[in-house]
Subunit: 445 residues, 4 copies
């Protein structure tokens, strides 16, 4: 019941945002559609930072945010450049702090040096966060930034400061896991439709099929400051064996099973929702939390596995010959055989293709390595890094147009075996060892 | 209704803490009452930081937290010393980063220098926060630290890192204002009884008198990560004039008025609740938020004022003669007259005392200055810094034993006049000018 | 915050239904799809009524309900006949109670007579209500009954007893008004789509247009025992004048206005949701409650009006000649002119049609009377009975196929003028006087 | 999550009551403290019933309720007499309905007769229920009635009609079970303090001891229309054996056990809260619901028992000799021995007393019978009627002044053995057989 008390707290949190409206400063002349000049925004940022006018700090922060929203891409670039140049740490202050530190390395001189090095920009971001909806705006600002300036070395400090703050604020200790179902507010559900990018949700009927049956579950992470806008979500199917086909999971024409009879939880789609939180990883934590919830609620569940895409597989196949270690004759033949087929499910049901493809998949996952000695497949790196095992290749696991085009229909099961997670994780992180099932190891090269 | 969805989110947030239990590492041998050695804790901290064993990061964080809780004061001191020595920034790394920075001041070398200077301790704290209840433990850890080591220069960096993180996490953008009343959970209400230190709440009946009548309100700030444990709260009385006596506000024997008939909101007690958040100020923001809520809900309210204590007044009176500028004859006579009285209300109702006391109060508030040129009274600095006006002295405003002993019964009204808040604030912060009512200015020296 | 406590109460209410499952009696042999014999059900009903086995009363009630659900229409008829014959009041007991009452009319003999006359069936229904979901089942049972047996005199007592109980349980004092918007759970929203029968909601996009814009509102009545299944809902558009066209209200291509700028609230669709509550009217109360909420939240609203259909208008036109008082030449000409048009909007935009139609509408609403002397239009009777005024005819107010086919495109505004509601209501109920605007009165016959 | 939606519903339910205020009719002249004349109230009741002025039915109902609240006991008596005389069924209508029924016993004539017999008073009560807070007022009205007029034959019909409605509205199908703990709103908790009459709750500290430890639970039934005002509650202690002493359960000086380790749930206090619901029994249902919740949440619980008072035991002892079958010599000696003791715990710890008392208790519970052949002890009738077993006598089970004075310190365990509940219940109700443990049966007479 304490919890019920909290409910009210968060009503307030959101409502505040709604009621406060728009502030009255920069945009008060009614020309809201007109871009505010970057000079004016800079001046306002300085005022906000100065602490003068602290009395109206929230309104100021709100005005700056609203002004930012009016900027087009070109002006956003100017804004970011302004942040980089005008709110960095002062060189003279750094030098002077360094001299004191060099003379005597004490707590005091260290802190003073750290202080001199921290750009005022960080404090500026913290103050922008005081505006209603401020956190969401900073997240979106980082998305804007990364869209356009991710590789711009001159702006690297802006990205660093934003990322640093968001990393701290989106500490997993602050996240809230929620199960999502058909009684969830429509405003949340429509976000799932928008955010799902692995296996597209076509319409509300499709969504309902993924949430409403007792053997279909969705879990998401939320953060208090983003309200009902999720950070990441995972779709789960309760089954009686490890599924090898996404179409058979998603079809409407199947027999629903009672959750308490299921032995297996299939994680078949994981989606990050906030582009502005790129690089701040929640997926590992999400899967573990969901496994923990499921085990508590459904003690019959024994097996936890994914059914995962291999999105860059065909691209790799196409580029295969050009790699350092050329494809073997057998592998070249397989690719040729594959390319000779029409890219339709029936055509691919050619008995010779399966073994050829599996051999190629084996090479793709186990032999091709990134400069760090890790698998080149990003999905594989994610699950293996979590301690999962590369369990099984699923030929024609995804026969959607997308699935055939990107991965020749191949999908993969990564097994989350609770007893070996920790050891797998350490072997992978420490020694780049990929935990692999006997079945996959047995595939002929 | 979105909000109702959020409610569930936070149920989850709290429940998680409850269900997860204690972890199974350091204390798993059952000797929970036994202190864990600092060496073991240090090793566990290194493991947590290393990211190895990330799979069980939360459990590790929980174990370290639980181990910390078993430490006595002496061992806590050892723990903090360990944090200071073992998790600081490496001097060689700093020097090397400096050399690269000196050679070429680029984004990259700046970030690398900043990185070298940031102590691993900060990341350690962030990871400790992942444990259920982690935030509250870090707050309490800082309270422990400040109780014992606040002025210990050797540990200043530990304090800096904790303060830095908490400052960022307790950004006002994340706070939630809640009105507290008689239908609030008892578990929250009993905290108010415990945290109230200005005008003690004697028992549940006394508490009820401050919350339940329609003209008595309490507001508090909460933070999602601390659940139902408040950060700060303020008690408000709705009245028809600016009150000059705390006893008449708190008495049970008074006529309740309808909130919509009230013209004045009296803020008569403000309490910080978390010693571990010392120096991270919410009071300014709280008062402004409450004023904003009250104006929206009760448009008839025209006047916002405090009835505030002067806790160090008698101490100042006693030390008066020893200050640089000695008391005048008149002032010395006043103090003597005061000291000659018995410290009971009737005795103090001596007609000569009032003007003498007011003259002394005038000097105390307007002439005595801190090295920064600000008033020496901390309560005055807080309200004047918010832009309030020093409005009125209230002779025998607090006739409780406490009130008579500490402040000779004197209380003060600080007026929150919305039209002049901003200007007052800037004049005070920029030029140490104290906004003072004509009535107080007219008091003879 | 008291309210937050209640929240938990109702969680429990619903959850209970979910967890309890199905009971273990009549259907425990696993042949759930097999119809339970009416004889067995009757025996179970007798046991439930006898109070023997009270310990398992809920389970029994649940079993009977589950057994009822397996019945097909034919067996339901047998079930209702069984209720009529086996659970009525005993004639001999009535006669004997009457003799005692006739001998001495005292409180005691009156109560005894009343008691003898109350069929055991009523208590049976009350006990069936104890099952989880029992109330909803009784509501649906009445819907089944009315579908098939509404005019069956032999079963009139069954209907009377069900209606009597539901009338008592769905007392307006127990109803809860809720505003519904885009953050309402999808499970509630999909019911609106299903229940809307006046102006069909085509899909989720259409639904969103009626809920999500700030100037489009939906309110519904709920009853605690039916959970999230609404009883009735009304759709409201906030506008700047009294709308005369449903298409312009429902179009996506319109300018949204700020709610606080609106002067007018248009009630454009009212839908009863539970067929089993037929004849238990909530509409009157709903409109008044919504008007009261709207006035409190949006003090600028001055005008409250409906835009209502005239669903039987063309049927009346077609049958017009056969009524007692034949159509005048002018009226016959109008009908002929109308029939000569193609039933498409452009064709109907014939200047001569409007005045002819208005004259016919005037006769339809003001001259044609039911045996009780009231208008023959049921929608008119509802709003006029509430005290509304017949304000305006809207030619081509509904140009959907449905609108043209049923009502020749005619719609009507009923004005809810708060000052005259009460007087209008009394004049209508007491003297069959229809409050009519001057504009309509002026229409030439 | 559906449930979260419901939460809002009930916020609305309560809030409505709060905001609507007082109506504007009968009391609008400001003389609220003045009694409204019964004649005026009667006129208002007639208007409410007439349906005229339906538009303002809620306000009318509210006015009548408010007027009722101003009545003193004498005027309430007049009010009830008015209800009895002015709103009963009309004799002429009854006679005429009877004649039609006698002529032809059809559904129609039966319903017409039933209709003629139902007093308009019932419909009046239903309409009074439409006022905000109407249900609570009707409950309290029945409490007032029963306090003063319970045995007044002339008013029996008023009581019958109120009881009939409340019985229907407080159908167990509408009740909501809630667990109450230290995070429950203070406004609910203070009601528990007020309503507890078996083992008085001394203050908030005492309350906390009964709610807050993990092995002390409280459950209550609520009804949506009464909001946070409970109907009945039960206090439960989780233990490792069947407790025989209330003092050892309530003491602060005990070792708390983990709920999952407990084997036994002791129901040690059951309290009805609403005097106006006297005779509408929830206790049976409450205990069964709580047992069902506890078994689901704590599968280790094997034993469910009460520790119950014997409030009239000493009165019976005192009157023992005067009963039909006189006390035996042995029994008289026991009473004499008992009376010779001082009524303090130490004095009662006389070895000879125990067997003597047990023999008397055996007679009291097993031999003394009411005219219906049931035990004379009301608490025994309640638990035995629920199917519990008379398990054990607890000598000096309650050594409070109250316990010694009323029951010579005797308490009783009634065992709720799930396997035999149903059979026990039927044997008790059908054949007045008291399920008794072997131990009690073995007690020498």
């Amino acid at each position: 019941m304490t919890c019920e008390f909290l409910k009210g707290m968060f009503d307030t949190l959101l409502d505040r945002g709604r009621h406060l409206g728009q502030g009255a400063g920069l945009l008060s002349d009614g020309h809201r559609s007109q871009t505010v000049s970057i000079d004016k925004i800079e001046a306002q940022c300085r005022a906000l930072l100065s602490g003068k006018g602290e009395a109206s700090g929230r309104v100021m922060a709100q005005d700056i945010g609203a002004a930012y929203d009016t900027l087009d891409d070109r002006n956003k670039a100017v804004f970011f450049a302004m942040l980089a140049s005008a709110f960095g740490a002062e060189r003279t202050a750094i030098d002077s702090a360094w001299r004191r530190f060099e003379a005597a390395d004490t707590s005091e001189t260290r802190l003073a040096l750290l202080d001199a090095l921290e750009p005022p920009r960080q404090e500026l971001f913290r103050r922008l966060n005081r505006a209603p909806g401020g956190t969401k705006r900073l997240v979106d600002m980082r998305a804007d930034f990364n869209d356009a300036h991710r590789h711009d070395a001159a702006l690297a400090e802006v990205e660093h400061d934003l990322a640093h703050l968001l990393q701290s604020w989106f500490n997993t200790g602050f996240l809230v896991l929620r199960s999502i179902d058909w009684s969830t507010p429509a405003s949340v559900l429509e976000r799932l439709i928008a955010y799902e990018s692995v296996h597209q949700i076509k319409d509300w009927g499709d969504l309902r099929r993924r949430l409403s049956p007792a053997d279909r579950l969705v879990y998401a992470f939320f953060h208090p400051a983003l309200g009902d806008d999720p950070l990441i979500f995972v779709e789960v199917a309760l089954t009686n064996d490890i599924s090898s086909s996404i179409q058979s999971l998603l079809t409407d024409d199947r027999v629903e099973i009672a959750p308490e009879d299921a032995t297996t939880a299939m994680f078949y789609s994981i989606n990050n929702c906030q582009r502005g939180l790129r690089g701040i990883s929640f997926g590992n934590f999400l899967i573990k939390q969901v496994v923990s919830e499921l085990r508590r609620d459904l003690p019959n569940l024994k097996t936890f596995s994914t059914l995962s895409p291999v999105p860059r597989f065909r691209k790799w196949l196409a580029s295969g010959d050009t790699t350092e270690k050329p494809f073997s004759k057998r592998q070249r033949d397989a690719v040729a055989l594959l390319d000779a087929q029409e890219w339709s499910k029936p055509a691919l049901e050619n008995d010779k293709l399966r073994p050829a493809m599996f051999a190629l998949a084996r090479r793709y996952f186990l032999e091709e390595k990134s400069p760090q000695g890790l698998p080149i497949d990003p999905v594989a790196r994610f699950h293996l890094g979590n301690g999962a095992t590369l369990e099984r290749f699923c030929w024609l696991g995804d026969t959607s147009t997308n699935g055939l085009t990107q991965s020749a229909g191949l999908m993969v099961n990564y097994l989350y075996d609770l007893k070996s997670l920790e050891a797998n994780h350490e072997a992978f992180v420490g020694n780049q060892i990929v935990a692999t099932s006997a079945a996959i190891r047995r595939i002929a090269e």
